[in-house]
């Protein structure tokens, strides 16, 4: 993960304005990460996440969002995804008008044990994370799921590193407590 970010940083330094193909290539590389982040930004509403991701990609590819000054394509793209999701969320219309069942599940199919347990673990984690503040949740996702540094995560979220550390620490504490509570129960 870090090494990929490293090459992208290099790319950014050699060419400030990347052309469309280069951007597309860079996005393709991090597409699975972006999807995971989009899910996290959309409360795991897949439809919404895919919409947000599509809109974000279009912004990047059509030059409506320009890559410069970010540490990597990943932090840049994540920032776009986050803002896009936020714009859609903030649009009260979407909230009010499009009242759908949140977090539509993938239809369960007979799967090997490991996959089933992954799904279970995922659902459980999601339930726990839902009890965190959005900022704590985002930071834990970026650090653990996306394996980002706190610095990069703070860049994605547009907050200072100090603030990010605080929320990160609190998020961990809260999640730990929740996990223990759950385990005791």
């Amino acid at each position: 993960m870090e090494s990929r970010a490293g090459t992208l940083i290099g790319m950014q330094q050699t060419s400030r304005a990347m052309d469309r193909d280069a951007i597309e290539q860079a996005i393709r590389e991090i597409h699975p990460d972006c999807f995971g982040w989009a899910l996290a930004c959309c409360q795991h509403d897949r439809e919404e996440a895919e919409d947000v991701l599509q809109a974000s990609y279009l912004k990047a590819l059509e030059g409506r969002a320009v890559f410069h000054g970010s540490s990597s394509v990943k932090t840049w793209m994540f920032g776009i995804v986050r803002r896009t999701a936020w714009e859609r969320r903030r649009s009260w219309l979407v909230r009010a008008l499009i009242r759908r069942r949140p977090g539509e599940e993938i239809p369960p199919a007979p799967t090997p044990e490991s996959i089933a347990s992954d799904r279970e673990a995922h659902a459980r984690l999601r339930g726990l994370l839902a009890q965190l503040s959005p900022r704590q949740r985002d930071l834990l996702h970026l650090v653990y799921y996306q394996e980002m540094t706190i610095e990069h995560a703070s860049e994605v979220l547009g907050i200072t590193v100090g603030t990010a550390r605080t929320h990160y620490a609190r998020g961990k504490d809260r999640l730990r407590a929740l996990l223990q509570g759950r385990n005791q129960a």
Partner: protein, 679 residues
Amino acid sequence: MSTTPDRDGFASLFARARRQDARTTPTFEAVLERPPRTHRCTLPALATASVLATGLAGAVLLLRQEPRPPDGAAGQLAVALSDPKPAVSAGRSNETAVPPVSEPLPERVDRLSVLGYVSAKKEKSDVASAPAYAMASPPTESVHDLPAPGRFYQTVIPISRERDLKAVVSGVSNKDPLTGGFVHVVGKTGAVEVAEGSPGLNTERYQRIAENDFLTASENPLSTFSIDVDTASYSVVRRYLSEGRLPPKDAVRIEELLNYFPYAYPAPTGDAPFSVSVEIASCPWSPTHRLARIGLQGEQVQRQSRAGTNLVFLVDVSGSMQTPDKLPLLKSALQLLVDQLGGSDEVAIVVYAGASGLVLPSTPGSQKNAILLALDGLTAGGGTNGGEGLRLAYKVAREHFVRGGVNRVILATDGDFNVGVTDHAELIRLVEEQARAGVALTTLGFGLGNYKDDTLELLADKGNGNHFYIDDEKEARKVLVEQIGGTLVTIAKDVKIQVEFNPRVVGAYRLLGYENRLLKKEDFNDDRKDAGEIGSGHNVTALYELVPPGEAVDLPRVDPLKYQTPASPGAAPSGETLTVKLRYKEPDGDASRLLTVPVTDGGAAIGTASSDLRFAASVAAFGLVLRDSSHKASASLDLSAKLAQESLGADPGGYRRDFLGLVERARTLGGQGISSPAE
């Protein structure tokens, strides 16, 4: 990152989540090309939403009823829903005064459509200074504010930047059973289907053109066709080329390319409302052949002497019209036209989408502001019911019929007649009927991607009008301002051309273009057969490629007749090459008049021909190449460019220079490749 040991098990927990997500991650392509989707919501949300949205971001919500299914005939448009409490009061109102009923509404409205379209909103930093959010495109729609309470309105609300939104409400009535008026639907509940529209599907349609073949003068001495002053094909071709694509072959109509350009034909003298001039020179792409040009010049009717004009704009406000090259361009185009109107002119605006409605009742041309305001308020969203809209437009036009004046419906659309009454035959019958009753139909085509070229052309043709394709402001100006006389004032109708070739001088001939305007030779003298109109100041140009007798041409031959001797060439001992005969009717006449012009080929080379003929040859060569015509011979874009270069002349309006640019553009796009001779 995880340099610290995973004491809490967070890393493994997230890793499993990650693994799980990875199994269900759609591909990059799947995300980019996501199709539209359907949502559900409730009516109160819609009602409330419409208030807040106008203050918050800059997209459109259009609320209206759709005709009741399944017998959609009963329905009429009403833009409904009102604003219970205008939360944001800053800025102007974009309310459009839509008279609620123009025809009786059904007792109960079963469906209510909610349509929105989206455009970029201003950046956050701009909010403080701007009273409302601006839309990135078009600038004319930049401010969206709140409608007054209790009024019918259409408005724009944000859904997202990229999406179109449609909704259909079922089982709701907003008609007050006591007063017959509309009641607010606020507070009523109903399930709403919201389908997000998706761009991308290209449903353009062009009628296939079967090119005219060479015909022998001995077997087919008569060539008969209706004139056509449409120019839409040129704009379509230009639009494609400017987007870096070669146009589809069937979008290239040579006669429409030719007729796009003004030519300096002699002004009419004498009784006929137009002049006829013929010029013959060597054919640039087949040097042994001759190129004959028939040019018609309509007389110029001064604007002052124009009788009153009764115009009804029928504007497509369906969802597919939202892009900047459609509704916004249409609005600026119509604004240009409105500027041309005087006090004796009347203008009404009818819109159509899922249903149709009168946005502006007939208003004198002197009240420009009222007209412009109504135009400005038009917003896009929704399905299309061209049939209903057309009926309403005709109704309005009939109510304000100006005897001896111009009565015309101007249909502006991307041609998407795909909701409701879509029976083409019925639509055409209506248009023909109205044309006979004196209300003509002009069609303006907009946008690519959803453009039904053949429908629009057919309707204009049947409606005694013209069809234009408007791809930019310049084209709008050309059509609506420079050609306004021609567009609005018909000086002769049912103009037919019949050319008789002298087999002694002409072995075979081929008419370039006019494929869908060909008439049977008997139709020429049959006044019941409809044909094209010529407007004030219009040019009409037709080109024939002539093959001298004795020269072999590749043409479909039938076996020689067994019982007859073929008519011997030279039956008429005349040096004349051909005779052009024209039939036309006065605009309000029923009996046709005949003009006859005999022509002799003086043997000129193309190099010494008039610049008009050389330029027309250039345009024809361009069309032959783009159509990849089997008769293009040595025609190439290089040839076209060379001919155009040498025939620019004074070029008023700069159209010829633009054309030259277009040829260059086609060359860079590899259009040259398709121009290489087949052999």
